[in-house]
C-alpha cells in the first residue's frame, strides 16, 4: 500500500452546507426530491411503453410494482448519498482517495446518514435489526392471539398467512442474518487490528439496502389484494398465484440478499488482507473464523435464493415457465434451488453465533478455548457439509427417491462437527473460574437449548421420522430451538458482551439477568409443547385446528406473550444504559482479544499504533502470555508465526 499523507481537512467533520446546497448535499433532504423522481420514472416509463405498444391493460399492477421496487429504492440510495463517490469518479470529477469526511460519529446525526466507519455501520445494523426483531415478534404475538382458540377470531386466513409469512421473513432476512453482520462489522476489524473494513463505501451501501428490504417486506402487507401469504418458503406454484403482495416479498428478498452478499465479500477481503502484523489465521479469534466461514457460505449460497425469487417473479410477470407445470416447468425445481440456499442459510444464521459463544465462554471462564484448531476446522466442516444436505427439507416432496438416504446420512454427519463444538465449549468451562454475567448466561442458555434443537434435528434427519413430523408443529418447535434458543440467544450474548465496547457504558447486570431468565422461561414454555402437538397431528401454518389442541395452544399463546414482554426489559436496559450507564472502561471483561485493548468506544480509526500480534487470543491462565503488543517500531509482516 502506498503511503498517503493525511491532512487535517481529510479527517475533519464535514462542513454543513447552507442555503440551496442543502438540497443537493447527500442526506434526507435530497432523498425527499430524488426518490419521487425515480418513482416517477419507474411509473411513467412502463406506462408509456405499454400505451405506445397497445398492450392491454396499460396499468398492470405486477409489472409496475416490480419496476418500482427497483427504481424507488435506487432513488432513495442516490438521494441519501450511497453512490456519491462512485458517481464523482465515473463522471470524471475530482475525488479525494483519503476523504474521511463521511467517517465516524461525532453526534447522533451521523448514525442517520451514509457513514463509512465500520463501528457506526455496526451500530446502525444492530439497532435496525432490533427494530425488525420487535416488528416480527409483534406479528408472532398477533397470530398467537388468533391461535389461542380454534376457529377464526381476529384474522381471516389471508391475514393470518400474511402474518406468519412476514414474521418468518423479517426474523430471518431482517434480524438474524443482518444482526450477525452488524456485530461482525463492529468487531472484526477491531479484532484483526485493522483501521476499518476493506471497502468502507461498499459497507455503507450494504447497510442502507437493509432498511429498504425491511420496508418493502412490511409495505407488501398493505398491497392491494393482500400481502405475501405463501410462507417464508414461498413455494411455487402457490406463490406465483398469490395476490400482489407476493411481488414485494420476492423483491424484498433481493435487496436483503444483495446486502448480505456485499457484506460477506467485504468480510472476506478484510479478513484475508487486513490482518495486523503477526495475526496469522491460526491466531485469529474464533469469531473471525466463524464470520470467515459464514461469509464463504453467503457468497456461494445467496445467489441461489436470489435466483429462486427471480424465477417465480418471472413466472408471474414475464410469463416464463420455470416452475409452472402446465408450461413444462419443473415444480420441484423451486424447492431444490430454494433449499440449496436456505439450508446453508441455517448455518449462516448459526456459525457467527458459534463465534460469539467461543469468545464469551473463554473470557468468562478464564480459560483458553479447548481444542482451538478443531473448533476452527469444525466450522469449515460444517461449511462443506452444509451444501450436501439441502434435500432433507424435501423428504416428502416427491423428489427422486434415491436421494433420500444419502441426504439423510450427510445430515446426520453434520452432528459430528456440531458435537465437537458443544463438547469443546463444555471442556472450556471445565475447571474454569466462571463468572455468571449476562453474556455468559445467554451463552449457557444457548448451549442447553441448542443441544435440544440439535437433537430434534437428528429426529428430522432420519427419513422415516421426518415423514411423520414434516410440516407439523414439531418442525416449528425444532427451528425455534435452533434459531431462537440458538441464534437469538447468541445475538443477545453478543450484544451484552460488546455493549460496553460500543457505547463506552455498562449495561445493568440486574436487568440483563432478569431479561435472560424471562426469555429463557418464556422461550421453553412457548416452544417445548409444540413438539407434542406436532407429533400428535397439528400441521404448521394453520389458522384453525382440531379442538383437542385448544388448551395447549392457549397455554402456548399466553407463554408467547410473556416471551414478547421480556423484550421490553432488554429494550429498557439498552436505552437507559446507553444514556445513563456507568463508564465501562476499555476492557471490563479483562479479555485478551484486540478490540478490548483500545478505548471504549474505540478511536475513529481504531488503533493509534498498529498492534503487533505475538500469540494466541485466548491464553488465559498462561503466565505472561500476550495476544498483541503495541509500540513496536517496525512490526513484522503478516504471515510469520
Amino acid at each position: 500500500m502506498t503511503d498517503v499523507v493525511h491532512t487535517h481537512a481529510d479527517h475533519a467533520a464535514p462542513v454543513a452546507p447552507t442555503g440551496w446546497h442543502r438540497l443537493t448535499y447527500p442526506g434526507w433532504l435530497r432523498v425527499l426530491w430524488v426518490t419521487p423522481i425515480f418513482f416517477g420514472i419507474g411509473l411513467g416509463l412502463p406506462l408509456l411503453i405499454r400505451h405506445l405498444a397497445h398492450w392491454d391493460p396499460v396499468w398492470k399492477g405486477s409489472v409496475l410494482v416490480t419496476i418500482e421496487l427497483v427504481t424507488t429504492p435506487l432513488g432513495f440510495l442516490a438521494g441519501i448519498g450511497g453512490f456519491d463517490y462512485w458517481a464523482y469518479y465515473a463522471s470524471g470529477r475530482p475525488t479525494r482517495p483519503e476523504d474521511h469526511s463521511g467517517h465516524g460519529a461525532r453526534s447522533w446525526r451521523d448514525y442517520f446518514r451514509v457513514n463509512t466507519d465500520h463501528k457506526v455501520i455496526g451500530v446502525q445494523y444492530v439497532v435496525t435489526t432490533i427494530i425488525f426483531f420487535c416488528v416480527g415478534g409483534l406479528f408472532a404475538m398477533l397470530f398467537r392471539a388468533e391461535l389461542a382458540q380454534p376457529g377464526d377470531q381476529f384474522f381471516n386466513p389471508q391475514t393470518f398467512n400474511v402474518l406468519v409469512s412476514d414474521h418468518a421473513a423479517l426474523m430471518i432476512f431482517l434480524f438474524v442474518i443482518p444482526a450477525f453482520a452488524g456485530l461482525g462489522n463492529y468487531v472484526i476489524p477491531l479484532m484483526l487490528g485493522a483501521a476499518d473494513m476493506a471497502f468502507p463505501r461498499l459497507n455503507a451501501l450494504s447497510f442502507w439496502l437493509l432498511p429498504i428490504a425491511g420496508v418493502i417486506m412490511v409495505a407488501g402487507m398493505a398491497a392491494p389484494g393482500g400481502g405475501p401469504s405463501a410462507g417464508w418458503t414461498c413455494y411455487a406454484p402457490l406463490c406465483s398465484h398469490q395476490p400482489l403482495g407476493q411481488v414485494f416479498f420476492n423483491m424484498g428478498v433481493q435487496w436483503a440478499g444483495a446486502s448480505s452478499i456485499m457484506t460477506a465479500l467485504n468480510f472476506l477481503v478484510t479478513i484475508i488482507t487486513m490482518r495486523a502484523p503477526g495475526m496469522t489465521f491460526w491466531r485469529m479469534p474464533l469469531l473471525v473464523w466463524a464470520n470467515f466461514t459464514t461469509s464463504l457460505l453467503v457468497v456461494i449460497a445467496t445467489p441461489f435464493i436470489a435466483g429462486s425469487q427471480f424465477f417465480v417473479m418471472f413466472d408471474r410477470v414475464l410469463h416464463t415457465n420455470f416452475f409452472e407445470q402446465g408450461g413444462g416447468g419443473y415444480v420441484l425445481g423451486y424447492q431444490h434451488i430454494f433449499w440449496f440456499y436456505s439450508h446453508p442459510a441455517v448455518y449462516i444464521m448459526m456459525l457467527p453465533g458459534f463465534g460469539i459463544i467461543s469468545e464469551v465462554i473463554a473470557v468468562m471462564s478464564r480459560k483458553p478455548v479447548f481444542g482451538y484448531r478443531l473448533m476452527a476446522l469444525s466450522l469449515m466442516a460444517i461449511l462443506v457439509l452444509g451444501f450436501s444436505v439441502w434435500a432433507h427439507h424435501m423428504f416428502v416432496a416427491g423428489m427422486a427417491g434415491w436421494l433420500r438416504v444419502p441426504m439423510m446420512v450427510t445430515s446426520m454427519v453434520i452432528a459430528v462437527p456440531t458435537g465437537i463444538k458443544i463438547f469443546s465449549w463444555l471442556a472450556t468451562m471445565w475447571e474454569g473460574r466462571i463468572r455468571f454475567t449476562t453474556p455468559m448466561l445467554f451463552a449457557l442458555g444457548f448451549l442447553s437449548m441448542f443441544v435440544i434443537g440439535g437433537l430434534s434435528g437428528i429426529y428430522l434427519a432420519s427419513v422415516p421420522i421426518d415423514i411423520h413430523a414434516s410440516d407439523t408443529y414439531f418442525i416449528v418447535a425444532h427451528i425455534h430451538y435452533v434459531l431462537f434458543g440458538g441464534s437469538v440467544f447468541t445475538i443477545f450474548a453478543g450484544i451484552y458482551y460488546w455493549f460496553p465496547k460500543m457505547t463506552g457504558r455498562m449495561y445493568s447486570e440486574r436487568l440483563g439477568k432478569l431479561h435472560f431468565w424471562l426469555t429463557f422461561t418464556g422461550f421453553n414454555l412457548t416452544f417445548f409443547p409444540m413438539h407434542y402437538i406436532g407429533l400428535q397431528g397439528m400441521p404448521r401454518r394453520v389458522a384453525d385446528y382440531a379442538d383437542r389442541f385448544a388448551d395447549i395452544n392457549l397455554f402456548i399463546s399466553i407463554a408467547s406473550f410473556g416471551l414478547g414482554a421480556s423484550t421490553l426489559v432488554f429494550l429498557y436496559n439498552m436505552v437507559n444504559s446507553w444514556a445513563h450507564g456507568p463508564a465501562a472502561g476499555g476492557n471490563p471483561w479483562r479479555a485478551l482479544t484486540l478490540e478490548w485493548q483500545v478505548s471504549s468506544p474505540p478511536p475513529i480509526f481504531n488503533f493509534d499504533e498498529i498492534p503487533q500480534v505475538v500469540g494466541h487470543p485466548y491464553e488465559y491462565g498462561v503466565p505472561g502470555a500476550r495476544h498483541a503488543i503495541f509500540g513496536v517500531p517496525h512490526p513484522e509482516p503478516v504471515g510469520t508465526d
Partner: protein
Amino acid sequence: MRKGSIIQLTALSLVAAAICTTVALAIPWLPVSAGREADRIHFVYWFTTIICISVFSVVAAVLVFSVWKFRAGPDDDSDGPPTHGHTQLEIVWTAIPAVLVTAISIVSAVVLAQNGHAGSNPLLVKVKAQQFAWSFTYPNGKTYGYLTLPKDRHVKLDITSNDVIHSFWVPQLSQKQDAVPGQHNMLVVTPTKPGTYPVICTELCGLGHALMRSHVDVVEPAAYQAWLAKGSQAPGSPGLAVFQENGCGGCHTFKPAAATGTVGPDLDNLREEAQKANRGTEAAFVKESIVKPEAYLQPGYPDAMPHTFASQIPPDKLAQLVQYLVKGS
C-alpha cells in the same frame, strides 16, 4: 479429574436421564399407531430417543456440574488452568457421535425401504388434491371425498394435485407424501387398526389450507367389500355427491351438506346474494360463480376460488350441482 467428580458426574447424568425418560414415557408423544408403517416409524423414533436421552444427559450433567462447581467468587480474579486441548478426548467425542448417527442412519434406511414396499397385490387408490379438498378414486372407478380402507392389506396411494402443492398425512398411519401437480407420487400404507382417522393437508396451499381435511375409515375386509358394493357413490342426492367430490365444503358453509367452511361466502345466503349481485336468474348466477368465479366477487371476499372448475366438472354434474345449491338455499 478426581474420582469424586466422576461419581458426582455419573450421578448427575443418571438423574438427568431419569428425568428425560419420565418425560418421554409419561407424555403420549406419538399418536396411537394404526398401521404397520407407523409401527416401524415408532420403532425408529424410540431408538433415536434412547440415543438422544443418553447424549443429552451427559451434556446436561457436565453443564450443571460446571455451573455448580466452577463458579468464581465475587472477588476472584484468578484464571483457570491453561488447558489447550486433549487429543485423545477430542478423538473420542468425534468418534462416538459418528457411531451413534451411523446407527440411526442404518435403522432409518432399513425402515424406509420396508415402508416403501407394497407387496404383490396392493389396493391401488388414486388420490387427487386440489384447493381445498381431497378426492379418492378406487379401482372400480368410483370417486369419494373420503377414504375407506380394508384392514391388513397393503394400500398404494397414487397421489397428485390439480393446482398447487398439497401434502397427504394421516397422523395415526404416520405416512406422509406431498401432492405435486404433474407428478404421481406413491405412498404405501397398511392399516392394522379399525377406526376413523383424520386426513390432513400439511403443505400450505392457500386460504383454505387449515380446513383441507378429510378422513379415513379403516374397516374389516368384509365391511370394505360391502362398502365397495354399495351402488350410490355417496348418500343423498347426486348434487350432494358433486358438492363433496369437489370439496366445496372446504371453503363454504352450506347447511344441507353439513359444510362449515368460512373462506368463501356462506351458500345458505345464496338467494339474497343472487339478488344483490343481479346477474340473471339465481341458477345462472350460481353457474357463473362456479365456472367463472372472478366474474362477480361478493364484497369482502378475495378472488380465491380456483378457476379450474369449468374444465373439471362435466356439464351433467355441473347441472346437478347448480340444481342442488339453488334448491338448498
